[in-house]
Amino acid sequence: METEVKDQLVSIEKPELVAPPNWEPVIMGILCNWCSYAGSDLTGTSRIQYPPNIRIIRVPCSSRVDPWFLIKSLQTTADGVLVSGCHPGDCHYISGNYFARRRFLVTKKLLNFVGFHENRIQFSWVSAAEGPKFAKVVNKVTEDIKKLGPLHLYKKENFDKK
């Protein structure tokens, strides 16, 4: 059943369009305050370098992340989104990251269904002690998005032109 649906999918990705020269993707990073945001701070304190494409938004918990935020990001400003929370079992709010994980999987499936490549939205667990891991995650996400190219259809300028 699922494969049938997949065959009929119309992708909104436009790999045939070539990215403009010097194009750099914008990645929206939505991080929970207690683990991942603290982890990203540690990346800074340890002076670990990573690509400058990510723009970080702080939320109290990954469970605060409404699917709306991901959709809005892709619609307007970002070429990709990274959501990051505490490791399973380590949530500052006891169980928030479990809700986040389930909600994220559903959102990812939905966005996938409407034609976004699955690498456009990514999820990770980064603890407050994992500065190097945060850099690694950002490296990977940036690389993935660079491979995919700009999100031509849903960009602010496209809206503005219409």
Partner: protein
């Protein structure tokens, strides 16, 4: 129209070297809501804060953006600056251009500057949607729970109780005292452990502000800082402590003999027992596993001889509840089991004992009346070999860390051996002698001279039997040769390990633990007694191996933290909590299901204005809400918002770049 002020910090060279700060200021000035923007060397300094205060007053600003270090660093500082200028402190936003830009893009100044500009734009956009918020006052239950009645728990309980704050002290064994009650003398002063500990134990029992609950375990902890509810299981002791006089007739007549835990199994106790003569409370309990009356229904002698009639074979476990505002965890440590050291013949040779067994033997109230004896034939040993680092600093067989106390207690053991058996000789196999502490190095030096102990630097490779002696073969690294020592008794300085129940306890308290099972502190240097969960503190070896002075200091530090927490009648709480718009709420109660704190309940409101018919809506208890925002994201009708992280604020951030 919003009037935003933006303050960009150089942070000395930390930001300015990698981000073109004046250019960021120029760029920010183009945003139409920004009415004032300026850069300064150190925004967090007093003149920097003064700049913010003056600008607020002079430019009638409605919200403030500080582009500097992480909000986790100085958000509080800048909020205070806003308050001082008469502005609501929650109208502040911090753009993190140091940890998130200048420090991580040091090779690309242009990109770092552009990113800093974006971060400023996002913060400006968010700040426009900021609302005035006010701190919430929450009532505090001024009672502390102390888990564990060793020296750490005792000290914490006494210090808190001395500040006239009621304490509930829960101890899992029948008596408080912990490991320290098993020690003979303590380094580096050779005070008798009992002499300094038992008065404190008695103080605990008689203190008007301490409720001592022995033979009990914590089952459940609910609530949040200042307002915890704890469930405690009082294990059935089968002895009514109120009527028992502690006369001891029961355990003298009890026919069942069981290895005595207090004496490390060297002698026997009865099935009805007090752990040791100075136990507090000094009331016996029945060991349900071994009592024949409880297991087979035969005997009943203790009931017959008990004149006050305190024995009750029908007694059941009892679950009690207490309300507390803070928790001190002091569950101590376990001795590491040396079984993996097969080459030492652990388990095969009777005359190899652990250091705590040796401690009990040389103890005046111990099973051998203070004279060490060989477990095999009861003879007094002349040549005793002490092996240090058994389990400690051994990645292959034991644990990686240094147990910290073994060097010192082994030195103490050589002295005690010398005191008890004058013609004895001690050999110590060691890796290093770690004697950092007040008077510790002097203690070791003096002991080496006074006792004439032979120190051999190296590891033991094998122990084997020769006649009734043990041959200890090891390396003396200082002469580079294999040495063999003939020993009557071998004492293993076993490592300190985390209590095996710690992971389970950590889960029920909602705090974290490390890979060894020690409970984790909030910050290894600056917050060593707090956990990441507000209102839960750590004392003693449950956090990491420690000696007695350190344990006592940490316990007193916990007490100070608890007293500080209880200093006011109410506690100030961040106003970042969820609010419900009743007009939108459909009463689906999805939010009730996801709330990890049970902060959301249902309420009935009239359907329309003046209507008598009611409908269900959700209602949030501000005092309980911790502001995670789970309910906001789950709400289909968008009736819930989280102050400080509202939908408009976050969407503004997203669309601003």
């Amino acid at each position: 129209m919003a009037r935003v002020g933006v303050f960009v910090c150089f942070c000395g060279a930390n930001i300015a070297d990698y981000v073109d700060v004046p250019q960021v200021v120029e760029e920010v000035k183009r945003i139409k809501e920004v009415k004032y923007a300026v850069e300064y060397k150190y925004m967090c300094s007093d003149p920097g804060q003064g700049l913010i205060r003056d600008a607020i007053v002079q430019n009638k600003l409605t919200s403030i953006v500080v582009a500097a270090c992480s909000p986790r660093m100085h958000e509080k500082t800048f909020r205070k600056a806003l308050s001082d200028a008469g502005m609501n402190p929650y109208l502040l936003e911090v753009a993190n251009i140091r940890e998130h830009s200048s420090w991580v893009h040091q090779k690309d100044k242009k990109a770092a500057t552009e990113k800093a500009m974006d971060l400023c734009r996002m913060a400006v956009a968010k700040s426009i949607a900021n609302e005035q918020l006010h701190e919430i006052s929450v009532p505090v239950t001024k009672r502390a729970l102390v888990i564990g009645g060793g020296i750490a728990g005792i000290q914490a309980a006494l210090d808190i109780a001395d500040a006239r704050i009621p304490v509930v002290l829960v101890e899992k064994s029948p008596s408080i005292g912990g490991k320290m009650a098993q020690l003979d003398e303590t380094f580096p002063t050779l005070d008798c452990a009992q002499c300094i500990l038992t008065p404190k134990m008695v103080d605990v029992a008689s203190h008007p502000y301490i409720e001592l609950i022995p033979y009990a375990e914590v089952l459940e902890l609910q609530g949040f800082v200042g307002n915890y509810k704890v469930k405690i299981k009082k294990k059935a002791s089968y002895v009514n402590f109120k009527t028992c006089t502690g006369c001891g007739a029961c355990w003298q007549k009890c026919p069942v003999k069981v290895p005595n835990e207090y004496n490390m199994g060297i002698d026997k106790r009865k099935a009805i027992y007090t752990p040791f003569p100075q136990a507090v409370p000094n009331k016996p309990v029945i060991d349900a596993e071994h009592c024949t009356m409880l297991t087979k229904g035969k005997c009943g002698i203790c009931k017959k001889v008990c004149l006050p009639g305190a024995i009750d074979y029908e007694m059941q476990d009892e679950i009690i509840e207490r309300e507390v505002g803070a928790v001190v965890v002091a569950t101590g440590y376990d001795m590491w089991d040396p079984t993996p050291y097969e080459e030492y013949g652990v388990g095969r040779f009777k005359d190899i004992i652990t250091s705590l067994e040796f401690e009990r033997m040389v103890s005046a109230n111990g099973p051998t009346n203070g004279v060490p004896q060989r477990p095999s034939d009861g003879k007094v040993p002349k040549n005793v070999v002490f092996i240090k680092c058994v389990g400690s600093r051994d990645e292959a067989k034991g644990i990686e860390y240094c147990s910290k106390i073994c060097c010192m207690y082994t030195t103490k053991h050589t002295i005690l051996l010398h005191h008890k058996v004058h013609d004895s000789h001690a050999y110590v196999f060691y890796m290093d002698i770690r004697a950092a502490g007040k008077g510790y190095e002097e203690f070791v030096k003096k002991a080496q001279v006074d006792t004439g102990t032979t120190y051999l630097r190296g590891r033991v490779s094998k122990i084997y039997k020769k006649g009734d002696k043990l041959m200890v073969r090891g390396e003396d690294a200082q002469i580079g040769q294999v040495v063999e020592v003939e020993a009557d008794l071998v004492v293993l300085a076993t490592a300190v390990s985390a209590p095996k129940d710690n992971p389970e306890l950590a889960r029920l308290l909602g705090i974290s633990y490390d890979k060894y099972g020690y409970l984790s502190e909030a910050h290894p240097k600056l917050r060593p007694v707090e956990t990441a969960k507000a209102g839960i503190f750590l004392a003693g070896c449950t956090q990491a191996p420690k000696d007695i002075p350190e344990t006592v200091s940490q316990a007193s530090a916990c007490a100070a933290k608890v007293c500080g927490l209880f200093a006011g009648d109410t506690m100030k709480k961040d106003p970042m909590v969820s609010t419900i718009n009743n007009e939108y709420c459909s009463g689906c109660q999805n939010c009730v299901k996801v709330c990890p704190y049970g902060a959301i309940v249902t309420d009935e409101v009239p359907i329309g204005h003046g209507s008598k018919e009611l409908r269900t809506v959700a209602k949030i208890n501000e005092g309980v809400c911790q502001g995670c925002g789970s309910c906001v994201a789950i709400c289909r009708s968008m009736a819930i918002n989280l102050a400080g992280f509202t939908d408009p604020q976050i969407i503004n951030e997203i669309v601003s770049i």
